[in-house]
Amino acid sequence: KDLIASYGFHPLACKVNIQCTEPTLTDNASDWARLSLELKRTLPVDKPLGISLSVLQTLPEILRQAHWDLSITLTDLESGYTVLRVEPANTRPAYGIAIDIGTTTVVVYLVDLTTGKIVDKQGSYNKQAQYGDDVISRIVYAVDAPENLKEIQNAVVGTLNVLIDDILKRQALQPQDIAAAMVAGNTTMSQLFLGIDPRYIRLEPYIPTMNAIPAAQAREIGLRLHPEALVHTFPSVASYVGGDIVSGTLATDLTNSEEIILFIDIGTNGEIVLGNHDWLVSCACSAGPCFEGGGILFGMRAMPGAIERVDIDTESLEVKLKVIGKIPPIGICGSGLVDCIAKLRKAGIIDRAGNFQTEHPSQSPRIRITADNKEFVLAWAHQAGGDKDVVITENDVKNLIRAKGAIYAGIRSLMQAVAIEIDMIDRIVIGGGFGNYLNIHDSVEIGLLPDLPQEKFEFIGNSSVKGARLTLLSQRAWNEALELARKMTYIELSVGTTFMDEFVSALFLPHTDLSLFPSVEGKV
């Protein structure tokens, strides 16, 4: 479904070409009156039209240099138009950028505001990582000393500027060409991006500073775009359900759906949204980063050298691996881990609680007891891309079980909050960088995802940046996002015992309640 079309193509900034008549002694209206008259005639909607002092300051010269044949870039909001830039007539489009600020990675899309096309994209690690891998350590750092907040804000703005510069260079564009920006990030990322003290996000009762965020000018934040380009930030719902989830939910089209949709964003936190056009609930189940490789001894992101599929012979315990890029393995990524757990279990190397069975009948040397752990060798050093054996440890397995348990428990908790049963869910949309590669079958087998028919699952990739692009291109979609954030009901999992109960029952492969996994139960 083309969401831009269904919301109506109406970018938050636009560019028009106009030809003004030259002033004469008798036709002696001011430059701005002349310009605005012509603009009013050209622009599709009749609404207030404004201009800033800085543009006015350069106006007389440009008009005349251009011989009154002009291209005008405007911010286009419901409240009115604002002239951002006046230049000699040209055919270059206006551009906008859609930004997803993740805790780990940052992604920027350059979007053509006349066609809606994605012209270029680029991503990189968030430079804030030097202050800690997760939001908690960043918050701790940000509030530790007065100058830290600015420093950590600069880190992310710096990351973005590098990405933007790269793209601009590639596309031979100037910062002035970018007329609007839309930013989606979790609550902590949004507050740090805007330089707002994040300390109370962390402390009980976990309160963010604001939900709806006023648009800022690029220069206030230091983004290298047109200095007056408006930078919009997605509203958050709660401290741990942020703008990225609002954006992602919008991208799933949940709010226009009669069907009940379950949207799972598997990032470092694991946010879940359940609902349809009438109601929606959300929660953050804090799964942790292990699906992105975090906290796993040989964990890594899905890139060349990462093991993505594992086969283990149930008798000899010999291993066959599929490695991204078909090179010797250096680590294992999220989908590889999920597959690996399923296979370890099948081969009887771990029991359903994730405990290693050191007395496996095969007596394979691949099962080893180390000083403080137990491990299974996936690839011997001589076959691997590094100089060490690539292993998965019992702690890794337990960590993964906790993460998958947290996600499944989050899903169940939301279902309980609205008293619906699993088969009432019509569609499951999986987002997050890792979401692209996840194997549904394995995921159900280890109890990460509910046991529903394959055709109900669908991947959306980076839903957050998708939603950001959508709202950049549609005023109505942006309004919907604001409304969506207001009506999304946040379920606090730390209240009551529902989540904990569900969590502990999910700390098992696939689950303590086998009847929830009929397709798996039959097999084991």
């Binding site: 359903r352 609680a353 109960d501 502990v504 029952s505 303590t512 309640d513 086998l514």
Partner: protein, 321 residues
């Protein structure tokens, strides 16, 4: 107009476990005990059959225990002689079973060998005709060795042995499997961990009707409410056909109740609490009677006076059966 009473229809019953074997069945017991099998919530006879009454197993230790005098004085000398002690429990207190704890095996204490312990077990078996529940000394490594030996020494008796816990269930489950005994599966106050353990044990090949759940209760005044709710949920789960929760439950009433300050502090020390003797009896009694209401099948008790009261309570509640 007649009132339409609500009688729940359950899909399943609590699983039944048989403990003990008579000579005909290859053992030496004069009676066997059946627990579980109930088709209703505790004592709701109008709803379904309460198949087997709750039984009381009295606690006996291989070396004299460090219990309070209120209990010890009721036994006197026999505390030094497990066989005589067990006999007294059965004959005078009408204990349905004997719960023998081999604390003398503890490496930190007397560190008795499995053979020495097996001898005590044999003596107790010879002294009484009721089935035994036997557990080790709560040292996981020692217990693995000890209970394997005991299981072997008592092969054929179909006893209830313990304790299988999540991080140490294999050897005891294996011993029970090989020598045909039943196992106590213990998990700390969590219904899910309890289920997990039952699944793990049953996946080793031990049939479900050989497992008894120990939910690790808290004593009266010290967290009994957690056990109360977990046991109630387990019973409801069993009736709703959750196979992995449908085992009968065993409760360490005597141990937990007598740990409480209220069961030990003299009146002089706490005048506001009244006479210690009755207080201690009731502390153990109510720990038991409360858990009876949520489905306890085997009560492990110490104080003979409390045992009498609980027996009476069970009799009262089994009326109209």
């Amino acid at each position: 107009m007649a009132v339409a009473l609500i009688k729940e229809r359950y899909q399943n019953k609590v699983g039944e476990v048989i403990i003990g074997a008579t000579a005909a069945e290859g053992g030496t017991r004069t009676s066997v005990i059946k627990v579980g099998g109930d088709a209703a919530l505790p004592f709701l006879h109008f709803e379904g059959k309460i198949e087997n009454r709750t039984v009381i197993a009295m606690e006996v230790t291989d070396i004299p225990p460090a219990w309070n005098d209120i209990i010890k004085s009721q036994f006197g000398d026999v505390l030094n002689d497990p066989a005589a002690w067990a006999k007294r429990c059965v004959e005078e207190c009408h204990a349905d079973m004997i719960y023998l704890k081999l604390i003398g095996a503890s490496p930190e204490g007397e560190n008795r060998s499995p053979e020495e312990c097996a001898k005590v077990v044999k003596d107790v078996l010879a002294a009484v005709g009721v089935p035994l529940i036997i557990v080790g000394c709560e040292d996981p490594e020692k217990d693995n060795e000890l209970m394997a030996a005991i299981a072997e020494a008592t092969a054929g008796e179909n006893l209830l042995i313990g304790i299988a816990e999540q991080d140490n269930y294999k050897s005891i489950a294996a011993a029970a499997m090989v020598h045909k005994h039943n196992v106590i599966a213990r998990s700390p106050l969590d219904i899910n961990i309890c289920k997990q353990l039952n699944i793990l044990i049953s996946e080793m090949g031990l049939p479900l009707n050989r497992i008894v759940i120990d939910p690790m209760i808290g004593g009266l005044g010290y967290g009994i409410e957690y056990a109360y709710s977990i046991m109630e949920r387990a019973r409801l789960g069993a009736l709703a056909n959750d196979k992995m929760l449908s085992m009968p439950m065993i409760c360490t009433v005597g141990y937990e109740a007598n740990r409480a300050k209220e069961a030990n502090a003299a009146e002089e020390e706490f005048p506001g609490w009244g006479d210690l003797n009755d207080r201690a009896i009731l502390w153990e009694t109510l720990t038991a009677t409360a858990l009876l209401q949520v489905g306890a099948s085997i009560l492990l008790m110490r104080n003979p006076a409390a045992v009498r009261l609980v027996q009476q309570n069970i009799n009262d509640l089994m009326e109209n059966a």
